[in-house]
């Protein structure tokens, strides 16, 4: 809590965006084929992914600062294992991701969203929040380790946001009328992350959506962690 901005921004901004979108896009629920009557229930998946993006940027920026100030060198000179540096950094991202999940969930329940998958689905949602945080966090640490620059890490933020906006964030893919947008959203892995969360809230148990969401997270995490580990090895050059 010594860096309130690192916690408050990822908690507050996604909720604000949820409030704005839920007010402005409520009419979408009238579209034939829209999967639910509640736009809040449909849009509640977005903060989970958006919050993970925020905390990823924070984690990457913090690590880059540790590199710039020489704090990473200080850690390197202790007997701690190299992977513990990554573990510690990602541990913080995951804890923040789970805290965000609790808050988003509480907001959703408070405004009357019903969880179709029930209490077990909420547990799966936390597991998914863990995976998303790990996956995006590993990308943040990779960027920090490769560039050693907080500015460079923050420069990735708009790119991540483009991925978020060109996805099924605001409308189901099958209802997107513009072909190029529908194709881009279909090719965009972020769509499947959103749809995995969404399935737990508004559908119930959808094995395909969950498998795709968890699978994509796992692939990103494996790639991100492997490359981060290699980048850390190069940087620490033990």
């Amino acid at each position: 809590m010594r860096q309130p901005a690192a916690v408050i921004a990822p908690l507050v901004f996604p909720i604000l965006l949820l409030a704005v979108n839920s007010g402005g896009l409520k009419a979408e629920t009238q579209l034939p084929g829209f999967p639910t009557n509640s736009f809040v229930a449909f849009a509640l998946a977005v903060p989970f992914i958006q919050g993970a993006l925020f905390s990823t940027m924070n984690a990457g920026t913090d690590l880059a600062r540790d590199i710039q100030t020489g704090f990473l060198n200080r850690l390197t000179l202790t007997p701690m294992r190299r992977l513990a540096v990554l573990g510690g950094q990602l541990g913080g991202v995951i804890v923040l991701g789970l805290l965000q999940a609790v808050v988003y969930l509480a907001v959703g329940l408070a405004v009357g969203v019903r969880f179709e998958s029930g209490p077990a689905g909420i547990l799966v949602l936390f597991a998914f929040a863990f995976m998303v945080s790990l996956a995006f966090g590993s990308l943040g640490t990779l960027a920090a380790l490769r560039t050693g620059s907080g500015e460079a890490v923050q420069g990735l933020f708009p790119a991540f946001f483009v991925f978020l906006f060109i996805s099924s964030m605001n409308i189901p893919r099958n209802l997107i009328q513009v072909t190029w947008f529908r194709d881009a959203a279909t090719a965009n892995p972020v769509s499947y992350l959103l749809e995995a969360v969404r399935s737990l809230i508004i559908v119930g148990w959808n094995a395909e959506a969950l498998a795709l969401g968890f699978g994509i997270c796992a692939v990103i995490a494996v790639i991100g962690l492997s490359l981060s580990s290699w980048a850390l090895k190069v940087r620490m050059a033990r």
């Binding site: 100030t69 390197t76 000179l77 007997p79 050059a237 033990r238």
Partner: protein
């Protein structure tokens, strides 16, 4: 430990096309303070990074506390402490929290961590400030905390990379006292890099002068200074018309040499001749505005070995490095 605390042979580090360290050989005996003196960009920090296992050498070998820096990194790290050029501190943590964290990372049990933090805060004069966040510390306090962090696990060998850069004279002197005490009372070997002539002169038992990645001279400060010549005496007569007479008098004590304002002579023997010069000037009734004894300095040594002064070299290096991507230097 038998043998030297630090030894390096043919140590080289290349960054792309730049040979930052170009074949360094050195031996630092246990319990000595070795001063590594040179301008910015000479290769001091790169050498420290290699000796502390933060950078692998491109070529050559080095052993610290008897362990190979490439193949026995964990053993090297467990026997050294290092305060690197950047005082890597978290502004949001207190001094005490930093020390406890460092002790914890060193694997110390909880009760020992607490005791060690108190002890080190007291030693570096930060007991009262120990519970304040580091963002409220002055530069000198940060440096002292950095030193304390390097000492948490009671290392036998301490690397200090430009520990007093940017500090005021009081903070600098306090740090020198503490480093001297560490060697004198605790037998710690200190490898200290500096760009300050005075620091190397006052603190180091032996000095290695580095320039462009090479050690250009090595020895005790006195040996190095003696190697470049004897002291000179400069006399500025009160009456400008008396220059020739003054030159003739002091010429009895050595060979004339250049002087900007008056006349000067390089003493034939030692500074003991100074009294003779004063007596001779008095006997000849020559009134003097200024009389100065110049001992050779480490800057003279640097000048003799490289053809330029250390201060000039620092400015030149700064100019060359301006706008380039920073590598450890």
């Amino acid at each position: 430990m038998d043998g030297p605390a630090i030894e390096a042979e043919g140590l080289v580090r290349v960054f792309k096309k730049t040979r930052a360290v170009d074949g360094i050989d050195l031996v630092v005996e246990s319990g000595e303070i070795y001063g590594f003196l040179g301008p910015n960009g000479a290769g001091k920090s790169t050498t420290v990074h290699m000796l502390t296992t933060l950078l692998p050498p491109t070529a050559g070998t080095a052993r610290v506390n008897g362990y190979d820096v490439v193949h026995q990194g964990p053993q090297v790290r467990s026997s050294i402490g290092a305060a690197l050029q950047e005082a890597a501190l978290d502004p949001l943590l207190t001094g005490r929290e930093h020390l406890r964290l460092q002790a914890s990372l060193q694997g110390m049990p909880h009760d020992i961590r607490r005791r060690r933090a108190d002890e080190l805060l007291h030693r570096v004069g930060l007991s009262e400030a120990g519970d304040r966040k580091v963002k409220t510390y002055s530069g000198g306090m940060k440096r002292r905390l950095d030193l304390a962090l390097a000492l948490v696990h009671s290392p036998r060998i301490l690397f200090l990379d430009e520990p007093t850069t940017g500090l005021d004279i009081q903070s600098r002197t306090a740090l020198w006292d503490e480093v001297g005490r560490l060697t004198r009372d605790d037998g710690v070997t200190v490898f200290l890099t500096t760009q300050y002539l005075e620091e190397a002169d006052v603190l180091a038992d032996r000095v290695g002068i580095i320039d462009h990645g090479h050690i250009v001279a090595e020895g005790t400060p006195d040996e190095l200074k003696a190697s470049v010549g004897r002291p000179t005496v400069e006399v500025v007569p009160l009456d400008a018309g008396e220059h020739e007479r003054a030159a003739a008098i002091i010429a009895r004590f050595g060979e004339p040499c250049g002087s900007e304002h008056g006349v000067a002579v390089r003493l034939r023997s030692s500074e003991a001749d100074l009294a003779g010069i004063v007596r001779a000037l008095d006997a000849e009734n020559l009134k003097v505005e200024q009389l100065q004894l110049h001992q050779p300095s480490l800057d003279d040594v640097f000048l003799a070995k490289t053809g330029r002064s250390l201060e000039g070299a620092a400015e030149e290096e700064e100019g060359e490095r301006g706008g380039l991507a920073m590598e450890p230097a």
